[in-house]
Amino acid sequence: MPMDRRTFLRSTAATAAAGIAAGHLPPPALAAGRLRVVLLGTLAGDGLGGAGNERTGTAIAVEHGGDVVLVGCGFGSIRRLLEAGIETSRLRAALVTRLTFDQTADLASLAMGAWSNGSNNGDPASPAARRRLPILGPAGTQAHLLAYARQEALTIDDQYRVLKQVPAFDVFARPRDVTASAVRRRVLRDGTVEVAAARLVDPRSVSSGVVVPEALGYRIAAGSSAVAIIGPCAHRDRAVALARGADTVVCEVVDVEGARRAARALGSSRAQIAAMQRTWTTPAEAADLAARAGAGTLVLAGLVAGRRAGHRPPLAPRYRRLHRTRHRGPGSSPRLNVAAAWPPPVR
């Protein structure tokens, strides 16, 4: 996937600016077989500390032709999806790497919103009635969506029975727990797009009474192009194997000092922070990972804010600096992109 820094920044800025100015942005045509990555939301971590209006929760759209696979659905993701000109009808699947707020805050609403966007024609034989949205994630994903369906039962019933939405919600939204193995395994195929997953944090893999959630990494491939998306990771070798040969690695990274400071401020103990830290990837470690996988481009996204209260310097320069000053990895480094903040909307 050829996406150098200049192209990346140009396309991001142009996309956002056009969307804001006109509320209208035709997606650029893609070459056949090519994947395009749109970083919709780039803020990771449970809290919104310091989020301001700079970034929304983690969400990455991977486009192939007219089809889109969404990875992560943190707060504001659907807003950004629409601003990027991607209507929910183009979604072929929604994936989450873990069941934390920064991945799931908008997930159930995405299922509802994508469902509500179909035709209210009441015709079970219509093409609209054949719409489906697979929703994949670690253990608990299915329970998350089923609980949401129970929570919204009255609304869903009104939408389906009274307002004639087709198909039924539980037919449309297809949540599934991915039983990913340590090595990469295909979990979804839709047309020409394939999704593979590997488990990068094992369930309850960290002891000391601290529950760290299971986490998956994904590899999305179409034609000769592949993108690997790495969130929390306690097994870097597995991540390298998942990403091997991908054009681009999108990696969630943590400014360790900042994140530790933020965790302490929230009352986390030393042992708890240490447990979490085993799943964090620093910018330098991300560079090593991408180099070992042979990826041409590394994108630092899913930036964990970890800022002091009231202190809101731009994130991207800080992560770029961390990468430059700490990277001591072997061999040549991949090209680096640090996710730019989405320009704030017109006030």
Partner: protein, 287 residues
């Protein structure tokens, strides 16, 4: 004591497409900021992001008032509450609204079970299930006070919006008195409820335009009828504002919310029935 009234989301309807205007507008939500405490009326899609853009945070939110449980009014409510909890807000957040507010709140911990269990384990927070308190009230009777504290008094009036229990709210603070229609069809007379308020925020639909789009999409008559009967055309908004004697009418929950229907066009439709000040809502507009 000073009150700011900020439109966080100005779009009506559950269609998130170019035709609806969802690229530009978040779903319905209005924030009352009263001496730093935030009271939200509805929490539609994208309103949490708008809250942050307005310089506020989920931890500032003291209470949410839901007009009814259609997704264009509640899509971001769960995300708002989990982030308020995650930010360490104390005490709890109250969610006021008609049925099924109580069961909705009861079910919320199950939806976020994995994430909240994990967070409790690593950061010694109170249980999420104790963090959100439902304040469901009955509908169908006369207007009644549903929230009163040291900053606001809120009254609710049942309105007619099809299958789901729905209300309008009147929010009074020391310096503001604002009525929000919620979603309502023409059968409800809001003028008495809004009499003497300084501002009426009224939902609005350009039904002829919406109908053309819906028919082109092959929508069922039931759905088209819901748009016609359970929402308010501009002339009803204007006439209600005139009879209520308010100084300012804010058109919000716009259907459609596309740039093609300009503010000037909306104002022109209201002008024959209301001579006061008319604002057409957009996201982050301060009223």
């Amino acid at each position: 004591m000073s009150t700011r009234v900020i439109v966080l989301g100005s779009l009506g309807g559950q269609s998130y497409t170019d035709v609806s205007g969802a690229r530009l507008r978040a779903g319905t939500s209005v924030a009352f900021v009263v001496d730093g405490a935030v009271y939200l009326v509805d929490c539609g899609l994208g309103s949490l992001a708008r809250l942050l853009e307005a310089g506020l945070t989920p931890a500032d939110v003291r209470a949410v008032l839901v007009t009814h449980h259609h997704a264009d009014h509640t899509a971001d409510l769960g995300a708002l509450l989990v982030h308020a909890w995650s930010a360490g807000r104390r005490p709890e957040v109250r969610v006021h609204g008609p049925a099924p507010t109580a069961s909705w709140v009861r079910a919320l911990p199950d939806v976020h079970r994995v994430a909240t269990d994990r967070a409790v384990a690593h950061a010694t927070r109170p249980a999420f299930s104790a963090f959100v308190r439902a304040e469901e009230f009955a509908t169908g009777g006369d207007a009644a006070v549903v929230l009163r504290d040291d900053r606001v008094e809120v009254r609710a009036l049942t309105v007619d919006h099809g299958g789901l229990p729905s209300v309008a709210y009147r929010v009074r603070t020391a310096d503001r008195d604002v009525v929000l229609s919620g979603d309502t069809g023409g059968k409800t007379d809001l003028a008495g409820f809004a009499a003497g308020a300084d501002t009426l925020m009224h939902e609005v639909i350009d039904f002829p335009l919406a109908e053309r789009v819906l028919r082109a999409q092959g929508a069922a008559e039931e759905f088209i009828g819901h748009q016609r009967d359970d929402h308010s055309p501009p002339e009803v908004c204007g006439a209600t504002a005139t009879r209520a004697g308010v100084r300012t009418l804010v058109l919000y929950h716009l259907i459609p919310g596309t740039p093609g229907v300009t503010d000037t066009a909306w104002r022109a439709k209201v002008a024959p029935s209301f001579a006061g000040r008319v604002l057409v809502a957009r996201d982050l507009l301060e009223v």
